[in-house]
C-alpha cells in the first residue's frame, strides 16, 4: 500500500489531501521522510524542457524582438566570426566516456559484437510463443515489443518476456498467426539507443575506427533524438563527424551536446571541440 502511494508520489499523481496524509505518516517515520525528500529532489531537480507556449498579448513584443534579433544576427554574422571560432583551438576532437550501465556493456563491450539490427526474423513458433533472432544487442529488453511485418507493413506485435544477447522470445498479441521467417522490427528508439551504446563501448575501448563506422548508422537517422542521446552521445557523434571532415554536422552535434546539460568538465571539453570545429574554417 505504501509502495503504491510512493510510486504515485514519484509520478506526481497524489492529490493535495493524499499528499498531506503521506507527509503526516513520514513525520512519524524518519526513513520514509528521507526517502520522500530524496524522491522530491529527483522530481524537482530535473529540468522542464517543454517548449514554452506564447500567449497572444505577448506575440507583438515577441515578433518585434525577433525582427530586432534577426537584424542583429545578420549584422554580427557579416562583421565578426562565431565567438567559439575565435578560440582557435587545434588538435583532434576529444571523445567523452560514458558511465556505461550493465545493459549497455552487455550489448556492446565484446570486441566481436555485431552491429545492432533494426530488423530480424521469427525463428520458431510453438504454443503461441515466438522466438526471434534479435536480442539485447539490438536494444531489446524484457517488456519490449517488436512489430511483425507483412509485406513491409506492421501486422501485429510480439511482447517479449525472455531476452538473450542475440535472441528473444515472447507472446504474439492480437490473435495474429505468425510463421518462422516472418520479419520483425525493433522500435526505432530502442534500436538507435543500442547503436549509441555500442558507439560508447567502442569509444571506451579506444576503437575510434569502429565507433566511426558505427556512427554512420546513427548520425544519418532522422529519428535519432527519440533514443534520448545524452551529452556524451552527442559529443561523440560530433567528434566522429569532425574526423570525417563534416564540420557543419560536428558543430550541430556539439551544440546538441551543450543543450543536454553536461557537467562542468564535460561542458568545457565540448566547448573546446566546438571551437576546434569552427577554427579551421
Amino acid at each position: 500500500m505504501i509502495e503504491e502511494r510512493l510510486d504515485r508520489f514519484a509520478r506526481g499523481e497524489l492529490s493535495a489531501e493524499e499528499s498531506r496524509a503521506l507527509a503526516q505518516e513520514a513525520l512519524n517515520t524518519p526513513d520514509l521522510f528521507e526517502e520522500m525528500t530524496c524522491a522530491a529532489m529527483a522530481r524537482t531537480g530535473l529540468p522542464d524542457r517543454r517548449p514554452r507556449r506564447t500567449v497572444w498579448p505577448r506575440l507583438a513584443a515577441l515578433a518585434a524582438a525577433l525582427v530586432v534579433g534577426a537584424v542583429a544576427l545578420y549584422t554580427l554574422r557579416h562583421s565578426t566570426p562565431e565567438p567559439t571560432a575565435t578560440l582557435a583551438l587545434s588538435g583532434p576532437p576529444v571523445f567523452l566516456a560514458h558511465t556505461l550501465d550493465a545493459a549497455a556493456q552487455f550489448r556492446g563491450a565484446e570486441p566481436e559484437s555485431r552491429a545492432p539490427r533494426a530488423e530480424g526474423s521469427i525463428t520458431a513458433v510453438a504454443d503461441g510463443t515466438a522466438s526471434v533472432d534479435l536480442g539485447s544487442l539490438d536494444g531489446l529488453a524484457k517488456g519490449s515489443e517488436v512489430e511483425v511485418l507483412r509485406n513491409g507493413t506492421p501486422a501485429g506485435k510480439i511482447g517479449l518476456d525472455t531476452i538473450f544477447r542475440e535472441r528473444a522470445r515472447g507472446q504474439v498479441t492480437g490473435g495474429l498467426t505468425v510463421r518462422p521467417a516472418d520479419r520483425v522490427r525493433v522500435p526505432a528508439a530502442l534500436y538507435l539507443r543500442a547503436v549509441l551504446d555500442q558507439i560508447a563501448a567502442l569509444v571506451a575501448r579506444g576503437d575510434t575506427a569502429g565507433a566511426q563506422r558505427m556512427a554512420g548508422l546513427a548520425a544519418a537517422d532522422p529519428n535519432l533524438a527519440v533514443a534520448s542521446p545524452d551529452y556524451a552521445d552527442w559529443n561523440n557523434l560530433g567528434a566522429m563527424a569532425a574526423l570525417r571532415g563534416d564540420r557543419d554536422a560536428a558543430r550541430r552535434f556539439y551544440r546538441r551536446a551543450l543543450q543536454a546539460n553536461p557537467p562542468g568538465d564535460a561542458r568545457r571539453e565540448i566547448e573546446n571541440n566546438l571551437a576546434r570545429s569552427g577554427s579551421a574554417q
Binding site: D7, E35, M41, R43, R49, G143, P187
Partner: protein
Amino acid sequence: MTSRTGPPLERDPASDYRRLVSVLASRAARFGSRDPEGAAQEALRRSLENPKSRHAVEYYLGEESPAASPAPEWPLDRLLAWLHGVLQFVVREEQSRVGFRREISGAPVFDPADSAPDTLDALVARETRDIVWACFAGIDREYRQVLELRMDGWKYGEIARRLGVNENTVATWVSRGTRELGRRIRTRMGGDHD
C-alpha cells in the same frame, strides 16, 4: 552573516511542528550541525517567513488538520526539496560562523551572505539541480530515457508508442526511475556527510 533572529511569529513553531522539527534535527545532525535542534528550528522559521513555503508547511506538515484550507500552490515534492535546501543552507551558515567548515568533496558551497527568500529559493533550486544531474547519469538507461522524454513534455502514451511498450510500463519506469534517482541522491548525500 545572518543571525537567527527574524520577525516574531504569532505562535511557537517548535510546538506547532514538533515532529517536523524532530525529523529536521536528525537530518541536520547528519549534515554535521553542532546544534541540530537549533538548525531545524531556524530552517522551519525561514520556511514560515516565505509565504509560499509557509502555506505548504502549514497544509502538509502541520500538526492540526487544515480543515477548510485550500490546497497550497506548492506540491509536497517542492516543499520537501525546499526544506532540504534550507536546512543545508542553515547548517552551512552555522559552520561558516563557527569556522569549522568541513571540506565536502564535490558539493557546491552556498554563499551564506544573502538568505532572502527569493535568493534562497534560487540557491536551493540550483543545489538540487546540481546533485540531481550528478546522479542522473547513473540510473538505468530505460529509466533515464523515459525521464528525459518526460522532461521534454512527452505524454505517457506518446512515450509508449515511441519505445514500443505499453503505457503501464512507462508509468512504472517513471516511478521506478524517480525513486532510483532519489536513492542515488540519498547515497551521495550520505557519502558526503558521513
